[in-house]
Symmetry: C2
Subunit: 361 residues, 2 copies
């Protein structure tokens, strides 16, 4: 187990070692660690090695010139200049919040970015401003549209955070697929089978063999198959891709660049880098914030009181599980799997940073 | 088979007969007929009898005073004064478009409304203004959250329309459930079984028996069960409900009033009527519209070129099936099932409107 502070300092040193400013290193560390404590380790320390490789190959810039390239009263387009995704993403969400302060809402489309960690982080930035926060991003293609065998969309997550009064905030943060790519890879490494309805093989037939994804297969859209509404999951993934990629001027659909260095660059580009889309809605642009917060409490209390099915203790509100994990992990420490520690050791050695793997708590 | 014009005129007469203005009757007829020609007959003529009963009971007003009750540069809240939903919905989307013209985007939350037909109609209103249109609505509770046996959310649809250049527009319009309520009722009437993973019984166990929905069961969220991501469908349905109900000041969650008169009013209200949420984003608030339209063509062409799975001819773009139906049905006529014709005959008789059921083409 590692303490939050230990991994936070180490992560800051690693990104400083790549040439990031103190401010940027701190932002990246904060967002990667936020994923760890929310128990979304697929978006935490695991990514450091991938980011490092992409930086070494010049596919990510540690000293970006982030610019607003287009704007209106309630909108903007931001060019991330190939930065680590967290940097333009945080900049863009701050801009959306600032626009919302003046125009009621703010909407920022971001291009020329990279993998940015967990979408929920940016949505939650709105909460302390009495705003609803929204964030979506496209990602490299792993998902086949309904009736297709070709990977055309990413797992394209959606996040929305809504403030309440005495209740904790509503925080939804979910991929538009039944399973994230990382869980397929883990099942394969463990030699486990998947449930049907999560991925398909190269012929478009659902399979329980996780290795099928590497061998020409694809992740299914949320809904799994047509009869269970996979075309609706395909619609959701498409909406995310259009807002993130088409509106921003980034790559879209099958052209979104990979977030890992072992996959080659795309032959063709339809824009600049990866794209995101951010929204902030000031609550008192709709009703007094205090009134809204009390209504949101009522929403949460009503849904939480829903009668649970046999074998279940309670109905969860989006954000409940991650909040419980945050409390637990901040107290008990962060567990990083040996393979990730090994990869981090390689990175720190190459950057000349001191790191003696071993639990610090 | 009935012609579009015949049913359009008849529908206008019916709503005029209830006391709607000419303009309002025309709007309602246009939106109900749009559902018919897009092959979404669950939102077409079928609804006339329900609307009539609700109007007779005073639960819908034919002469509403629709008002803007709160606004900012890019937002507004509209009170629909218990109107037929189409009237405040069209008013609200027009207001969103107007806001977007000036502020780049417009967002309107609507309360004290009723069932409004197909969400896609309002999203598509943005297209001719070089805008992206968005529309969501809550609905009376039929859906149980993951791990629950209680109906807490509606089928809460999402619609988004995006203009292209030479390609037809992208139009997504989908419920956040694997199956709409209407299809469950039809299966029961036909004595057919459903697939598993669409509805659950009163114990929360998925069942193929469509009558379970009437006997304490519930529709499942998109994703069907936890392992296939039903918590993500539950998140989507929740987002729609919060935007439509909590933000607008309408009823939300289990308190949304029914859209049919045979279901009683709710014992408790958390706001006014049913709620909707509308968005319009001016494309040139992000990039020149011509450039965007060309990018959208490229998105559509790329996705359409995805290799189809065995047994399938092509991959569909959201909006393709409904557009093909529009062409076919406008040419061949509208088929209305006998039971719906019977119900319409009862309504016209009561209103003293001439209607001699029988094909007019």
């Amino acid at each position: 187990m590692y303490s939050y502070n230990y991994l936070f300092d180490l992560t800051r040193k690693i990104f400083s070692g790549m040439g990031c400013s103190d401010e940027h290193s701190t932002t990246i560390a904060e967002i990667l660690l936020k994923a760890e404590i929310r128990n979304i380790s697929s978006h935490g320390m695991l990514r450091i090695s991938d980011y490092f490789q992409l930086w070494k190959e010049g596919r990510i810039s540690a000293t970006p010139d982030i610019r607003v390239v287009h704007e209106s009263l309630s909108t903007a387009v931001v060019d991330g200049d190939k930065a680590f995704g967290m940097i333009p993403a945080k900049f863009s969400m701050e801009l959306a919040i600032d626009k919302a302060r003046h125009a009621g809402t703010g909407w920022v489309a971001t291009r020329n970015s990279n993998h940015f960690g967990i979408a929920g982080y940016y949505a939650m930035m709105a909460l302390e401003h009495d705003m609803i926060g929204i964030c979506v991003t496209n990602a490299n293609p792993t998902v086949a549209p309904t009736f297709s065998v070709e990977k055309m969309l990413g797992t394209n997550p959606v996040a929305m955070a809504v403030p309440a009064l005495n209740q904790p905030p509503f925080v939804a943060d979910f991929a538009t697929t039944p399973i994230p790519r990382g869980k397929v890879a883990i099942a394969e490494k463990k030699g486990e089978q998947l449930a049907t309805g999560l991925i398909q093989d190269s012929e478009g037939v659902t399979t329980t063999d996780p290795s099928a994804l590497r061998r020409g297969g694809a992740i299914l859209p949320l809904g799994s198959d047509y009869i269970h509404g996979s075309h609706k999951g395909y619609c959701m993934g498409s909406i995310v891709d259009i807002l993130s990629g088409v509106v921003s001027g980034a790559n879209f659909g099958p052209f979104v660049p990979p977030g890992v260095a072992y996959l080659p660059r795309k032959d063709r580009e339809t824009g600049l880098g990866t794209g995101h889309f951010f929204g902030a809605m000031k609550i008192d642009a709709f009703m007094p914030a205090e009134e809204f917060r009390a209504r949101m409490d009522e929403w949460i209390v009503s849904l939480r009181a829903a009668k649970p099915a046999a074998g279940h203790e309670k109905v969860l509100i989006p954000g409940d599980p991650e909040r419980e994990w945050e409390e637990k992990i901040m107290k008990e420490g962060i567990n990083v799997v040996p393979k990730v520690i090994e990869d981090m050791k390689l990175v720190t050695t190459e950057l000349g940073i001191e790191f003696n793997p071993g639990a610090d708590m």
